[in-house]
Symmetry: none
Subunit: 184 residues, 4 copies
């Protein structure tokens, strides 16, 4: 009983760590010093290292749930959408929305820092197969990796400047993929 209590505490603590890390990633970028995350979370640096031995572990943990949800939406959209192209655009909208609202994530995915390698790997391993199904069904001119990479890049800096609306641009990109009417 005492144990389950402690475990519950630790879990709560870990969640507050994740929340602080997520906030820090957004405001300062994923390269934010561990010490800063610890300060934001109101814990010592050692606590971070106990829970997340490497920075990649922390990042993966921060984004795990959301990536999961995104992955699970793929097959569902394919079933429920009026057509394969609609399914693809819906999923890409979802994917872009996820990245846009997780300001800082798109940047992290694009970073070449070795600390993010395992993040890239995990992210792509989980989502590319999902996207691939949609892409094949819609007979898209861009492959799953390429499309995701493009959308990921387009989401970088979303919200930084009012003149740039990532969702609109992603819409234009998807329009570029739309099956055309014949040119006379």
């Amino acid at each position: 009983m005492a144990e389950s209590r402690k475990r519950a505490d630790a879990r709560r603590n870990e969640q507050s760590l994740l929340d602080a890390a997520a906030a820090a990633f957004v405001s300062d970028g994923v390269q934010v010093p561990v010490r800063d995350i610890a300060a934001k979370a109101g814990v010592g640096v050692g606590t971070i290292y106990r829970h997340f031995p490497t920075r990649a572990d922390l990042i993966v943990a921060v984004y795990r749930h959301q990536v999961e949800a995104c992955a699970e939406a793929g097959p569902r959209l394919l079933r429920e959408s009026p057509g394969p192209y609609a399914a693809l655009t819906s999923w890409i909208d979802l994917f872009a929305d996820f990245l846009i609202t997780k300001h800082g994530l798109a940047e992290a995915l694009q970073s070449e820092d070795a600390a993010f390698q395992s993040l890239h790997t995990w992210f792509l391993d989980r989502l590319v197969p999902v996207c691939d199904q949609l892409v094949r069904a819609a007979d898209s001119r861009l492959g799953a990796f390429e499309l995701m990479y493009a959308v990921g890049n387009l989401c970088i800096g979303a919200g930084r400047d009012d003149r740039y609306d990532a969702r609109r641009v992603v819409g234009v990109l998807l329009d570029g993929l739309r099956p055309r009417c014949a040119t006379p």
Copy 2:
């Protein structure tokens, strides 16, 4: 005479600095340690700081000529292309090519690092008006800033993974901008 000679030397020196910096930016990114640039240029770090007090000054200097050339190409393309949409795509191709071949520049333009602020400003001040002319002529759904921002982002990481072809994706984006045939 001695003075003009000295000035010529200084100019030569500065040019070799710029060449070294350009090379370093390409191979190691724009965040490359100043010491590395100095070593590549065969000068002391003090010399770099004398010529370019801030990193942004150095970056602006490195890319000045190329941005100039790109800016000057705008009006010319508008005159010489078969139509405004063709002019726009030609210019965007030029712009994307510039970014893609300047590996690291797209990343720098997107970086939030304060050291790059003046780079952003200068870059946009010079090119957005040019692009704006083209965009208006072509009656594009995306504004000049937005389009340039999008293309800039799409060029990030170009060449890092064979599965991602930035030029092809930019092509798709431009297709999304193409005037449509009427829907019956």
Copy 3:
């Protein structure tokens, strides 16, 4: 009854702690992280600190029995050996054997780390008087402290390199103490 059972449990627990510590000292040296000892013993670090408030307490406890046995062997050897020099060499062999087989102990005895101060003290308080009897009986050129210190040092790193055989070197040192035949 319940109490004596509890006390027996505690003693068993403490013994398993000592065993784990002894093993950790051997494999990783006496500076081994407390956490590692705790892990080896299958207890929390808090338990170690409860039983042994300082590292020295733990070390002393680990080696107590063996030092005791060594101390008790002194008078016995003096009684049972063919002569006092033989008794001294036998005891020193015993002492060296103890140190050599307790890989890490010789290093600990020599360490200047404050955490080991009480170990030094206890060790010498217990054994120097024993050695002193033997040394006096054998009329050795080296005093008890000096001889023990020397042998202790010679045992440092025993087993680390095949080219160094601590027992052989101790033998040579004892040879140097052997009463000489007259030089003609």
Copy 4:
């Protein structure tokens, strides 16, 4: 000229660094924090790292001259001593003296820390061959490595306690190596 002046300064600086490091090694052991050495030398830590990229580099530099002198004494003693055993004892005395007066060095040589690996290697590479010549000439029962290792160990902690005289103990060890008169 300006260059040679600067180089002279740097050399002087490096020497003061070495002096500070030597003092720090003696008083705090060779594991002394780099920051402490820097403080002792009155320089920033960066200066230490500039001159000596790794701790081993610093240690080797601190002891280089003295090891050199010791190595060079070997052949000379072999030529000039009344006999090979006398040459060996003279050299070992020299070697022990070196270690004893460089309080902390014997400990360093015995340390298993990876940072000292190159120190061990260099030290042995330089001196074992010298000792080997002497050992072979004197037909010693102990090999060069073993004898040096033993003497090195005996010098650990020399000067820490008045009851231990490393020179006397080394003398006894050498006595143990002395050719014996026949036992009747």
